[in-house]
Symmetry: C3
Subunit: 341 residues, 3 copies
Amino acid sequence: MKTNPGRFFEDYRLGQVIEHAVPRTVSGGERALYHALYPARHALCSSDQFAQSCGLSASPIDDLAAFHVVFGKTVPDISLNAVANLGYAEGRFLTPVFPGDTLRSTSEVIGLKENSNGKTGVVYVRSRGINQRDEVVMEYVRWVMVRKRDLSAAAPETVVPDLKPALTVDDLHIPEGLDFTNYDFTLAGEPHRWGDYAISETIDHVDGVTIEEAEHMMATRLWQNTAKVHFDLTFRPEGRLIYGGHVISLARALSFNGLANAQMIAGINAGAHANPCFAGDTVKAWSEVLDKAQTDAPGVGAIRLRLVATKGGAPFALKGEDGRYLPHVLLDLDYWALIPM
Amino acid sequence: MKTNPGRFFEDYRLGQVIEHAVPRTVSGGERALYHALYPARHALCSSDQFAQSCGLSASPIDDLAAFHVVFGKTVPDISLNAVANLGYAEGRFLTPVFPGDTLRSTSEVIGLKENSNGKTGVVYVRSRGINQRDEVVMEYVRWVMVRKRDLSAAAPETVVPDLKPALTVDDLHIPEGLDFTNYDFTLAGEPHRWGDYAISETIDHVDGVTIEEAEHMMATRLWQNTAKVHFDLTFRPEGRLIYGGHVISLARALSFNGLANAQMIAGINAGAHANPCFAGDTVKAWSEVLDKAQTDAPGVGAIRLRLVATKGGAPFALKGEDGRYLPHVLLDLDYWALIPM
Amino acid sequence: MKTNPGRFFEDYRLGQVIEHAVPRTVSGGERALYHALYPARHALCSSDQFAQSCGLSASPIDDLAAFHVVFGKTVPDISLNAVANLGYAEGRFLTPVFPGDTLRSTSEVIGLKENSNGKTGVVYVRSRGINQRDEVVMEYVRWVMVRKRDLSAAAPETVVPDLKPALTVDDLHIPEGLDFTNYDFTLAGEPHRWGDYAISETIDHVDGVTIEEAEHMMATRLWQNTAKVHFDLTFRPEGRLIYGGHVISLARALSFNGLANAQMIAGINAGAHANPCFAGDTVKAWSEVLDKAQTDAPGVGAIRLRLVATKGGAPFALKGEDGRYLPHVLLDLDYWALIPM
């Protein structure tokens, strides 16, 4: 068979490194499309001059656009036969991505655990995005539940990686040259700096976006993510499932209203796609400040945020009495952002 | 509160200058998206070589794309609490915008008038788009009706600016170097030059476009326009209102068929969004020649046009016996364009 | 009348050369949009580094993106009054198109044949895309059935051009410098090389895409194709007809899964739009290997493929017992691609 059937659980080996296909050169086209698909307004990823005033050579593409490019490449090898995307951890953004850069991805298998039903198993991979200078631009751990092809295949030795529940500020990498001492709060859009946010403070980002089929499919294709469930209504007649990353980007863009100065994502501690999202849903977002820390870079603080996307319900409600996500919660993301002191 | 509640009528002061947030570097991505969203075909904004044959350094982005970028930045400060966008005047396009340019916007409050109901007032602003060399690329006056936050707030002194009913050709600024003496009418798409248009001539542009939700939202997001009514069906269950600028761009692009040589917009004299537009509407356009003038630039004539967008009805019908716009009229725009002599 | 009524059958003369309007400079924006609209993943058109490893200066835009730009320009002069797009032949891709290139198009009338009904005729044109260095980037023959304006107009002498049923490998032009001897099959996404494909082998490309109105209209506008039937629901209330080229690009992109290494299109032998396509249809694709040949370029083989797009039905079924295309077949395209040996 010439077409890609995807890997099944028994195809993964501990320590295996998978080099993913189809490298991608990004341009101003990817940035314009990102801003057409999401209400993204963080000034650092909008203006070369603003980025230069913060010590960068030019305006990088949005961190999540780079993430999607890196993630999309892993789909044909990691999640084509996945029945669930279980979690993220230890995500670190190491080098900004600029128009003209070319990205490719690799994944290393760092854990395997067959489920007791004998039909599926959990695969843990550490994926890396690498640019044309062989610099790692980001890395993150993801674990997915994957079907077995052959139910009689022997279970591998169970290895569950020891993952940090959250990165500390020392784990974060500040982009070289980043300097917020001359930060222009007026051009950035809000006056709130690091010191204005308190741990456990919550912010309702107010705005909402009703999603259309054309939008999420254009986004998902742009990231060269090939999962059938997002595109083919004959494959999934109950409705095309929206790529979880689309919801992450929507929520992050909506969070501008209240967190306009959380300019760059430095780390992803954890993430859960709590419920599926479909065209017609109206996505809103709220945030909670989980932690704060100072960094060594001039004027640059770090803020740890919970970002929650919803498709209804009141802000700030996350889980029910049973400890499960409420049905209107789409995303629960825990990340570190860089913000002027 | 960390999120932007927008300004209310009593927050504006005569002479106040508001520096709007989120500067934007534009690229070929914005141009490609503009041409995917609107049937834009004016050769000067499509081909570097054509633009160079007209004396420019490269092909600028469409004048209205630049306008939307500038306008979008003003929304969070000027029209977030607006109940109506009342009018435009004295719009002048001063410097073409090229891929690589970075735009920011400012607005100066030039008029204030509380309405007799004591609940709302009219705010007049002169908005300017400014590039990375601090050159003003365009300016225009807009007035909007804005709610009061506190109905007991004292009314400001009424100042209504003295606005020109229309710009004259002497008010227009011709882009430096523009020269139509070697203009290639074949590559431009139509043979009609300045002398072929007569004052009061009308042109039915024939073509129509049925609008989709995904299109107007992608456009409006690309301009970083944040007004809720365009995006959030839970905020406006009766239907997402299409950004008036989307209709302007559609109508201008449709006017290529009959006005292919009206290459650049030099001025906007007046504009009214006569009725709301929704996804599913089919937009068509017609034009009327209001005036003509010569300019000092070689081979460059000016033509003043009324551009009307409709969502039904016959062309050339504008107002009813009661003097009000007919219900199918979406836009009535009065502008100056530059056209080869 | 200032607007373009299109040419009618009697407006064409044998040997006439029509220079089409609106040249276009392409950028990374066109590439990003192409990849957002189609699930395109061929590495050569995705990564500058991959293209350079194959001997090119940079990553060209997808061959079909260039084709659509060239084709779109011909529409106002060739097919505005066409009642049917009858066929393609002798399509040759001569020079890759890179971001920054500017394309224009010409068509030469090479055949005319009035139909016996006296109401329509067939016009054969050889269209060429030309870049800013006056290099022909591609050429192809297309024939369309066009209405007569004046039924009493005299029929022209019938001239039917002698067209090759298929190009041979000697007719193909290999891009200068193309070299597949260091081809990276891992980054390209599949291990199958020229020798792995057998004549008459068929491949079901498995994946499907359900089409939305916004997508095909954005694509068709981007190519500056002005045919009313694609955009205006009041003109065609039974549904907007999707531009045939949209289906070609969808099918070609879907064929990545099984033909990831068929990197470049070198020739188009024939093509038929078998049935109309509408929003809501789910497009899938299958291919059949029709022929194979070696080329003089290092490591570069040629493979002749039938590419069939469907909107239902089982793969590999093409025509009924009556010799007519089955109702679910959208496209039957016969082309040559370049693939590593």
